[in-house]
Symmetry: C2
Subunit: 581 residues, 2 copies
């Protein structure tokens, strides 16, 4: 039975709550696998959560809170067994961009707006899920996502140069970033910069070279892997100790400072109408981007283990996670790539691993926060920079240039507009450009004149194949559905070809590539039929698909058609040329 069939056959409740399914078979072996994965992910998530909260312009503890309840909510409703939900770089940055327009970072209004944004995002995802409207995300093409992630990563990394140097920078757009970096350069704090640069260097080494080095020291692959994952924690610990021991705060090094020792608080997102109106569009974009990223990760991981996920149920899982964030002092969350891969690699078997991670982070929020008072913000900035630079993928530009100019244009436009105008405009431009390019392409379709490939019953383009033709029969194969955007183009093209061929008595439109004939095209076909009839020529159709034929039969067209509709092009050619089999 397929996943889809299994999902359909499941009782309604366990369909809405996948936990009821995997929870039944939960045993000891699974438990220990999940516990180990949770430990590794918890260690990795502590610095990451703090860093992404700062990236979103929020106090660091918001990052921990956004990683506790949301993980549990997703574990209950989501269909992926390995996805790890929480704050991620791009969504955190979009959050900062959206809230930055309605409130000042650091104020209570700002934190309140973050809750509202998470709530709106959660509601939107939930509604999309209940309407089974996950297909909407399909309009974000790979080029748009690739371009958007690359440009966002550049903006995020650039923006983190601020805390890395101890200055304030604007990073909504590249021009603002460069200008504020240039203006603020004089105020850079050398000690902060030293910590930041050392942290970047160390973390880059961890990422690229630590594992082989540990293996070289004789450690087992599993241990080496675990220690590598703990690299960022080491950077946090060492730099915190250094700040504390050397009293670097007195020399201008900004630190995280006192974090409340508390479980996630119960918060209530404001649904003030003005605020909702201002945040509605960003919430939709954040939801869609977050959903696409999350589903891609979940599908990749599920495919490894021959599991399947249900994108519409994923919407519900992510919606629940965001609502959980909104009610527990968090901000918008989604399934993250790095953390999910770590979770899967560490051997997570079920969403229970996520629940254990949540418990680990809750313990950290309760007991570990005093140790983070002296943690320099520059270290967290370094964590983000190293993480997001891994997302910059300029090879997509090169690959798409080779494969298709339209795809290249979509990536380039998305990158340029995101850098020039910001994340929201960037992603909207990308979607628009890719749709317009698709419509544009289908508005000037390829049309082949086809003939019979010798020795077969197959018809192909006379310019590419050695084919058999007949002087009185012209067969054209329009390589596109016939619809309003290409109707006039095709009409002109067909009439021009016919005008060059006065001997042609029978015109056959081979419809193997025609998946739709809309009413605009139908009227044009009627006009073409009438004009050909007036010239003593007949119009025939061949290989009309079932759904297209059903529709034609509901119109008057077939009654007026001067020629016939043939099942196959071969039958048309045989009948019209008097060829014998």
């Amino acid at each position: 039975m397929t996943t889809a069939a299994r999902i359909a056959a499941r009782p309604a409740l366990s369909r809405l709550l996948p936990v009821l399914e995997w929870g039944r078979g939960y045993g000891r072996a699974t438990l220990s696998a999940d516990l180990l994965a949770a430990l590794i992910v918890t260690i990795m998530l502590i610095p990451q959560s703090l860093a992404y909260a700062l990236l979103a312009g929020l106090p660091p503890e918001a990052g921990l809170y956004a990683s506790i309840l949301p993980i549990i909510a997703y574990a209950l409703f989501g269909t992926s067994r390995m996805l790890a939900v929480g704050p991620v770089a791009v969504v955190s940055m979009m959050t900062a961009a959206a809230i930055g327009n309605v409130a000042q970072s650091g104020t209570a209004d700002y934190a309140a707006a973050a809750l509202t944004l998470a709530a709106l995002s959660g509601l939107f995802l939930l509604v999309m899920g209940l309407l089974r409207a996950g297909f909407l995300a399909n309009f974000l093409s790979h080029p748009v996502i690739a371009g958007f992630i690359t440009a966002s990563a550049i903006l995020i990394a650039g923006g983190q140069l601020g805390p890395l140097m101890g200055i304030k920078v604007q990073s909504e757009t590249l021009p603002a970033l460069l200008q504020s970096l240039w203006a603020g350069l004089d105020g850079a704090n050398p000690v902060t910069l030293a910590i930041g640069v050392l942290a970047v260097a160390f973390l880059t080494w961890v990422r690229k070279a630590m594992k082989p080095w540990l293996r070289g020291l004789g450690l087992g692959p599993r241990l080496a892997d675990m220690l590598t994952k703990a690299g960022p924690v080491l950077a946090v610990a060492v730099s915190t100790l250094a700040v504390w021991a050397l009293g670097l705060e007195a020399r201008g090094v900004a630190t995280v400072g006192a974090i409340p020792q508390s479980l996630p608080p119960l918060t209530w997102p404001s649904l003030d109408l003005t605020l909702v109106r201002q945040l509605a569009l960003p919430a939709v974009l954040i939801s869609l981007i977050g959903f696409v990223e999350s589903v891609s990760v979940a599908q990749t991981l599920a495919a490894r283990k021959r599991q399947r996920i249900d994108p519409d149920q994923e919407l519900i899982g992510l919606g629940a996670a965001n609502l959980a964030a909104a009610f527990t002092g968090g901000f918008p969350v989604t399934g993250g790539f790095a953390r999910s891969v770590v979770n899967a690699d560490a051997g997570a078997e079920t969403p229970a691993a996520g629940a254990f991670t949540a418990i680990g982070l809750a313990l950290a929020a309760l007991f570990l926060t005093p140790a983070l008072v002296h943690l320099p913000k520059a270290t967290l900035a370094a964590t983000i920079i190293v993480a997001v630079l891994g997302l910059v993928d300029l090879s997509a530009l090169r690959r798409s240039w080779r494969y298709s100019r339209a795809d290249f244009l979509a990536i380039a436009a998305t990158i340029v507009m995101t850098l020039a105008l910001g994340v929201e405009q960037g992603v909207m431009t990308g979607v628009l450009v890719s749709m317009v390019l698709h419509l544009w392409r289908s508005s000037r379709p390829h049309v082949a004149e086809v003939g019979l490939v010798a020795g077969t019953e197959h018809f192909r383009n006379l310019n590419r194949h050695d084919v058999q033709l007949h002087p009185h029969v012209l067969t054209l194969r329009p390589d596109e559905s016939l619809y309003f955007a290409n109707t006039r183009y095709l009409e002109t093209l067909i009439l021009d070809r016919l005008a060059q061929r006065p001997d042609v008595r029978d015109v056959v439109l081979m419809c193997s590539a025609v998946n739709e004939i809309d009413i605009t095209a139908l009227e044009a076909l009627e006009a073409l039929n009438a004009q050909l009839a007036a010239e003593g020529r007949r119009l025939h159709l061949s290989e009309v698909k079932g759904p297209v034929m059903d529709r034609l039969q509901r119109s008057d067209f077939l009654r007026h058609l001067s020629g016939r509709v043939f099942l196959s092009q071969y039958q048309a050619f045989r009948a019209l040329t008097g060829m014998t089999a």
Copy 2:
């Protein structure tokens, strides 16, 4: 030689100035045909021009001016031999809606804005023509145009109830129209209303029954036809005489009043930046709507005589006409349906008929205007009402409902939005809805499992035809190009079908309906290929079109493909099933 070929072969100058071509063969017979047509069209245009100027919110003489130089400009640059250019109902109404936002009707600013609008419209058309961008108009589908014309005609006719009753009404939207009619009802002038109702009744009779009645009196068909065309002039003459003889102006009947006796003045459109910015979008919409209407008329008339028009050169002709209107006290113009049909029916052979019409109207502007002082505005309103009600076509709704729900939705949305929000919003909604519906449809394509039709080499849907299959071979025919909007949908669908068929070893994608594979779809195909390979299954393609194959060969996909690419589906089936011919 085809028109296109002939156009291409023509020297550049005569391509830009079609007059150089038809002017050479001009003789006596053509002259007398053109003169007669010009006389008939002139008689018809006098009341129409005045009426459309009032509809646009301008003084009546503007309508005459807009019909003189623009006709000559089109005659020089246009490619249609029978198109009659001038003010038309829908464009006049769009003009009123656009200028109404920036100036008060009756002021000098209002008339100046009309000139600017015509100039912008002319420039836009000219630039489109020089860029050969006439295809842009293809994005206005028949449903959108039909819906837009119907809704506009309702608004126009409703708005003319104002002058018909001697009250002021708002007609930008249906709610505004109904509200202002209701509020103004008490102030209706009974004498004006009587004139108006009589004129509507008479003109309706002229339209429907005058010709058979004249034939019944024993008149020849040609004379009966000419007299019918002169019907509106008779209404104008009789009602003017009645107002003058009975002194009806004293009883509150509004008349056209004094019109300057003059040739078109030389005017200079303001290109003030604020004004240009306000009028740019309306100018684009007016240009596109006007162009589409004009080209449809021109193509219909040309097809009757086996002539062809060149849409891109038409843009230049209409652009020149609008610039001429801008510099001679006019307002936006286009090729009108009624006047062009009359011109053609009256026997016009060349654009010279248009030039003679222009001379006729110039004479009217010089000598006839004093006779129009007492012409009641109610008569002109009646002319418009009878003319535009002929454009209301609700049968398009019925036909499209039967043929395709998507087309129906596009018409309905355009009608509703035009009536509810006005002409600009209406047409933009229509374009957007029809594009989104097209993308939506292509995002969930039909996929057929196909088999061999017995006794042929043809493959069809197993649900519709009696076909031969093989347990180890699954052939799917996706009925759409593979692109970002349908990638995930197809991926899920193919994997689900495969999961139900564990025996399948070879999967063939029959690509006869695949006109494009974009990079998003390419990556999905690569993933599918890898997953099938991991399951010990092979992926094959068949009937890949030339342009699609060219592109695949520029990627790595074919190198990694586990199966083969077959020229025809029959060859694929034979090779994979071990069938002998």
